[in-house]
């Protein structure tokens, strides 16, 4: 399992390899398997309402549910993504675009078209039941404003010249932030229309981005690196997390605590909005990829070993 989320109706829904989606209505005790039309790794799953949600994944796949995650239909695939990108790159107004990505758009679209429909979506922003933006590897991006009936290429709206992987996205007070490869961070203050580059905390790739209760921006990623910013990404302060392992996922809990998972099965917790993290002393041996708080407060982590209820782990 790669990703887990919670619907407004407190259903836990997790997604992962081979298109598996499972859901639980009792805070992670019992799980049922959803009907999914693909056999590919799903990387991110998020809901707009109790019923309506999306899951994105490998080979440019976007799936939508309208029954709270029990059944899914495919709305977009990799071939369509490539075609869409080509269409956008060939549009007459591209040369006038202010985006630094515009000059290379056609070369890039051609390259992807040659490469095949393989590019994965890695994250998404759900604005409303109608509006959703999927983001992924090599800066691919697809936007819908009609609940997924039609999609538009959005890659030029991320103002960056090169094709970097966008790993995570989050909303803080109406602004939208992206964390990406090579330490890139983007922000959109215009409702997702254009994403501008912020200063990079370092050159290390970032896998996650969170907004703490007090508005602090926290990013983390490869080799235990993590940074916080109290000025919307203008300046960054390193956070000392005592590990060299990759930090894979994170979540702000209802209590305001922040938890971050690692590839070696550790979980780090901060009770001071990200100023300091301490490792929970567990002996989980399989990598964790994502974590979610259940409605009863239980911490449910997902990873290579499937679902783990952290509160029930054997503490060493």
């Amino acid at each position: 399992m790669v990703a887990i989320t919670r619907t407004p109706a407190n259903r836990l829904v997790a997604a992962g390899e081979h298109g598996v989606v499972i859901y639980s209505d009792d805070d992670g005790l019992n799980w049922k398997q959803a009907r999914v039309p693909v056999n590919l790794t799903l990387t991110c799953i998020r809901f707009a309402t109790d019923k309506i949600g999306w899951a994105v994944g490998h080979a440019g796949v976007i799936l939508k549910t309208e029954d709270a995650g029990e059944s899914w239909v495919m709305q977009l695939n990799g071939n369509q993504v490539n075609k869409m990108m080509m269409g956008a790159a060939q549009a007459p107004n591209v040369q006038n675009s202010p985006s630094p990505a515009a000059p290379l758009a056609l070369v890039r679209a051609q390259h992807f078209a040659d490469g095949g429909p393989d590019i994965p979506f890695l994250t998404m922003i759900v604005f409303s039941p109608q509006k959703m933006l999927a983001l992924g590897a090599y800066r691919i991006a697809a936007m819908t404003n009609d609940g997924g009936k039609t999609w538009q290429d959005w890659s030029l709206n991320i103002y960056y010249r090169l094709s970097r992987n966008i790993y995570d996205a989050t909303e803080i007070d109406g602004d939208y932030y992206l964390a990406a490869e090579m330490g890139l961070v983007f922000c959109s203050t215009d409702g997702g229309n254009s994403f501008l580059q912020l200063s990079s905390p370092s050159g290390t790739s970032l896998f996650g981005i969170l907004g703490a209760k007090d508005g602090t921006l926290i990013v983390f990623g490869v080799a235990g690196s993590a940074y916080s910013s109290k000025d919307q990404g203008k300046t960054w302060t390193p956070i000392n997390i005592s590990t060299q392992d990759d930090l894979t996922g994170g979540r702000v809990l209802s209590s305001g605590s922040i938890v971050v998972t690692s590839e070696s099965g550790q979980i780090f917790e901060s009770k001071d909005n990200g100023a300091s993290f301490t490792a929970l002393p567990n002996i989980q041996s399989q990598p964790f990829f994502d974590v979610q708080e259940a409605s009863n407060g239980a911490l449910i982590a997902v990873g290579a070993a499937g679902i783990t209820d952290i509160s029930k782990l054997k503490w060493a």
Binding site: A59, D245, D246
Partner: protein, 805 residues
């Protein structure tokens, strides 16, 4: 008319009165040259006895495999590429207290690791444990990939900080459940074995190997760790230890048979002679082993028992005859020659029939079974010389004890004089009457019904987990259970083999199909885990794209996949990147488990989506794959073999009886036994496998002996014009006791196996004992009952002849 019924030739007490030229040509040749024949026998015994000292105990893996089965053919095509996965021991080292992240534990593990490293035949380069430098982790750091040994012997000092690093390194290997147990209470030492030691060049001595490890087990128990050791080497080692005990069983079987024979004859001299003759047959047979280039295996070790038991029963027949004649006052030589005359043909037919029905097993293309068939056939053929020829000849010199002979005659004449004084014979005689015959046949039909109903559930293959050769509560199977419960890689491995053109192992379609195959197989409750380049490609994709779990999966990007080349290991593909094994670790190798998984695999391969010029999936390697192939062969062979055995028996019966009605009388009881034996296998949880398949043939082949002896004499009487009741009663008088004795000595010969430490020998013993005894009952109760309907009075007699009653 009455003269036709006379069983006794003229009693000749003085040898001078005896016509040396009487009797058949064979008899004259043999008995008129007694010293030469006996001298020849003695020479053969000395020669083969000397050969027998060269018999080697061994267990060959390949002999037990159907080498022509397509799965096995595929496996051996890829044998070189799969060798690293071949003969190995797995040792789970369990901490008696706490987890393995403990300075004392790791220290003890290091000592053990070093000890094992130095043992002969260990493939040191490929031995792995937490301490070997080839056990490494790989991780992404900010400036690329980083890797190192799980325990860095340079910096490791047992401090809590270092222990924490070891724990994290173990997690980073991603091999929890393989390298260490899921609950961190034990870790694994993987010890591949070389058939020939790298330094000395000596082949593996399995007995010695197993005892070395048993010593380590005891030694390290004192240091706070428990060893759980599994692998082919340990099974073979345990079996070789078990064969030692078989010798004791042989002695016990011999003693029981001797006691029975003595109880029957009350003559020490003749009892010892029969035992000696049967034992001579065993010596001859053992002598044939090295001459044929065969080793004594845990399978063939049972054949001498059978030969001994069959020898005892035929010897008893001969001695009975000689004893009766001597009791009447005949000279020993005359008695021996008369007995030879009377019984040689019946005995010869019975033994040839046995040999032929054993030979039927040759149609099964598993060498262990074929060799067993050859050995058993040779053994039975030897009995023709030792027990049908040599024994009466020796008896012609020694005679029997006068007292015993007189007793035998007394019993016989007492029985002959009146028809009422032997309750058992009178009871059995009742089955020639309508009421009893219907009753017996009715009960037999009910038994047959139950047998068929229950027997439908008989399974091919092993029904238990662990090493089926050994008992469930043996050390080995306990160790195996521990490892199954604590690790996700079991010792029951199936390997699906994927071939591609050279250099094609990273083809997207191949990897994607393999990955899907694993995914489907992983969902089965019978499967613990799987491993192949297909699943590793998902991990490699992630590792090569900054280690983000969101990249976990096979991306349809051939350029990206081609970059994996430098990360491929010998476990994922071969040197030319053209062969990829898919390892499937099963929960056990029960017949049902194997069947289910094989069916699933075959269904997967059959789908057009899963076929491509870029790759070809073929089945099936690994020890569980071999088991599955063996099961398939056994299943096909089982019915074919039974048909052949029965055909053989029917032909022999027809030659002897010359009446199809008599053939039906003889064969139906045998079929009942076969049917009930299958039901018994279900009840006793015995599957049809390499070890038990021969039992079915042996049971039928030997079982027909009874019918030959009983019905043969009945037919003779009937043809002479006797009523069925009269004929049967006379038969009982003449051979009834010997038939009983035969049944019990045969059963005694094999019943001791039930206590064998090796389970399949126990299974064989149980089944054979049952078949021998049940066939005896069949011959004595069902044969007359069936005869009542099939062999009515006057069938062989002209209308006007008077029936003798």
């Amino acid at each position: 008319m009455a003269t036709k019924l006379d069983d006794h030739a003229a009693v000749i007490s003085d040898i001078v009165d005896f016509d040396r030229g009487s009797g058949s040509l064979v008899e004259r040749i043999l008995f008129n040259n007694r010293p030469i024949i006996l001298l020849l026998c003695a020479l053969v015994t000395v020669f083969l006895g000397f050969e027998a000292t060269r018999v080697k105990l061994n267990a060959s893996f390949e002999n037990m495999i159907p080498m022509h089965q397509p799965f096995i053919v595929n496996f051996y095509k890829h044998y070189k590429d799969l060798q690293s996965q071949g003969n190995a021991l797995e040792i789970a080292v369990q901490a008696d207290r706490g987890t393995i992240i403990n300075a004392h534990y790791l220290q003890v593990l290091k000592e053990l690791n070093d000890k094992i490293y130095l043992l002969p035949n260990v493939d040191r380069a490929f031995m792995t444990s937490l301490w070997t430098p080839n056990t490494r982790w790989v991780s992404v750091v900010s400036d690329g990939l980083s890797s190192g040994p799980v325990i860095n012997s340079g910096t490791y000092n047992g401090s809590p900080a270092q222990l924490a690093i070891v724990a994290q390194n173990i997690a980073k290997t991603g091999r929890v459940g393989e390298l260490v147990s899921d609950d961190f209470t034990s870790s694994m030492i993987y010890v591949p074995l070389l058939q020939f030691d790298g330094l000395t060049g000596k082949p593996i001595n399995y007995g010695q190997l197993a005892s070395e490890f048993d010593n380590l087990r005891q030694k390290f128990a004192k240091k706070g760790v428990t060893l759980h050791i599994i692998g082919f080497g340990m099974v073979v080692g345990d079996m070789i230890k078990g064969i030692g005990k078989i010798l004791m069983f042989f002695v016990v079987s011999g003693l029981i048979a001797m006691a029975m024979l003595f109880w029957f004859t009350r003559c020490v001299r003749s009892t010892l002679l029969v035992v000696a003759a049967s034992f001579t047959a065993v010596i001859w047979q053992m002598g044939f082993l090295p001459l044929l280039g065969y080793d004594l295996t845990p399978y063939s070790v049972l054949v001498p028992f059978l030969v001994f038991a069959i020898g005892m029963s035929h010897g008893a027949q001969k001695m009975n005859g000689v004893m009766q004649d001597i009791g009447r006052g005949a000279h020993p030589l005359v008695a021996a020659r008369y007995t030879f005359r009377r019984l040689f043909l019946a005995g010869f037919a019975a033994l040839v029939c046995d040999a032929a029905s054993f030979a039927v097993l040759l149609t099964i293309h598993i060498q262990a079974i074929q060799r067993l068939a050859i050995l058993a056939s040779i053994g039975v053929a030897i009995l023709i010389f030792t027990n049908l020829i040599m024994l009466p000849m020796i008896l012609s010199y020694t005679g029997v004890s006068k007292k015993a002979a007189a007793r035998s005659l007394r019993n016989e004449s007492a029985e002959e004089s009146g028809r009422v004084d032997h309750p058992l014979w009178n009871f059995l005689d009742k089955f020639t009457q309508k009421k009893y015959a219907i009753g017996a046949i009715g009960i037999a039909i009910i038994f047959a019904g139950i047998g068929v109903y229950v027997g439908r559930h008989v399974q091919v293959g092993d029904l238990g987990a662990g090493a089926p050769e050994l008992r469930q509560n043996s050390q080995y199977n306990k160790d195996n259970a521990y490892i199954i419960h604590h690790y996700s890689t079991s010792s029951d491995v199936m390997v699906a083999m994927v071939d591609t053109p050279p250099g094609g192992c990273l083809n997207f379609d191949a990897l994607y199909t393999m990955n899907n195959l694993q995914w489907q197989i992983d969902q089965m409750p019978q499967v613990q885990s799987t491993f192949s380049l297909g699943s590793e490609a998902s991990k490699l994709t992630m590792l090569m794209t900054e280690n983000s779990p969101k990249w976990y999966g096979i991306v349809q990007n051939q350029a990206l996949l081609n970059d994996f080349q430098e990360h491929l290991t010998s476990r994922m593909t071969n040197f030319t990147c053209s062969f990829m094994p898919v390892y499937i670790y099963l929960t056990d190798h029960k017949a049902k488990t194997l069947n289910t998984v094989v069916n699933k695999l075959q269904a997967f391969i059959k789908k057009p989506d899963h076929q491509s010029p870029a790759f070809k999936i073929s089945l099936l390697g690994g020890n569980a794959g071999i088991d599955a192939a063996t099961n398939i062969v056994i299943k096909q062979a089982n019915e074919f073999m039974l048909a052949l055995v029965y055909a053989t028996v029917i032909i022999f019966c027809f030659i002897v009886f010359k009446s199809w009605r008599a053939v039906v009388c003889a064969v139906l009881p045998l079929m009942l036994t076969s049917v009930i034996a299958e039901a018994l296998m279900v009840w006793l949880n015995i599957g049809i496998k390499v070890a038990t398949l021969p039992v079915i043939a042996l049971g039928v082949g030997i079982g027909v002996d009874y019918a030959l002896y009983v019905l043969g004499i009945v037919m003779k009487q009937l043809r002479a014009g006797a009523s069925l009741s009269y004929a049967y009663h006379r038969t009982l008088l003449f051979t009834g006791k010997v038939v009983l004795l035969t049944g019990f000595t045969l059963a005694a010969g094999v019943i001791t196996w039930v206590f064998a430490p090796i389970k399949f020998q126990a299974d064989m013993g149980m089944l054979l004992s049952f078949m021998f005894l049940w066939n005896m009952l069949g011959a004595m109760i069902l044969v007359p009952s069936l005869a009542y309907f099939l062999l009515p009075e006057r069938l062989f007699v002209a209308k006007d002849d008077k029936v003798i009653v």
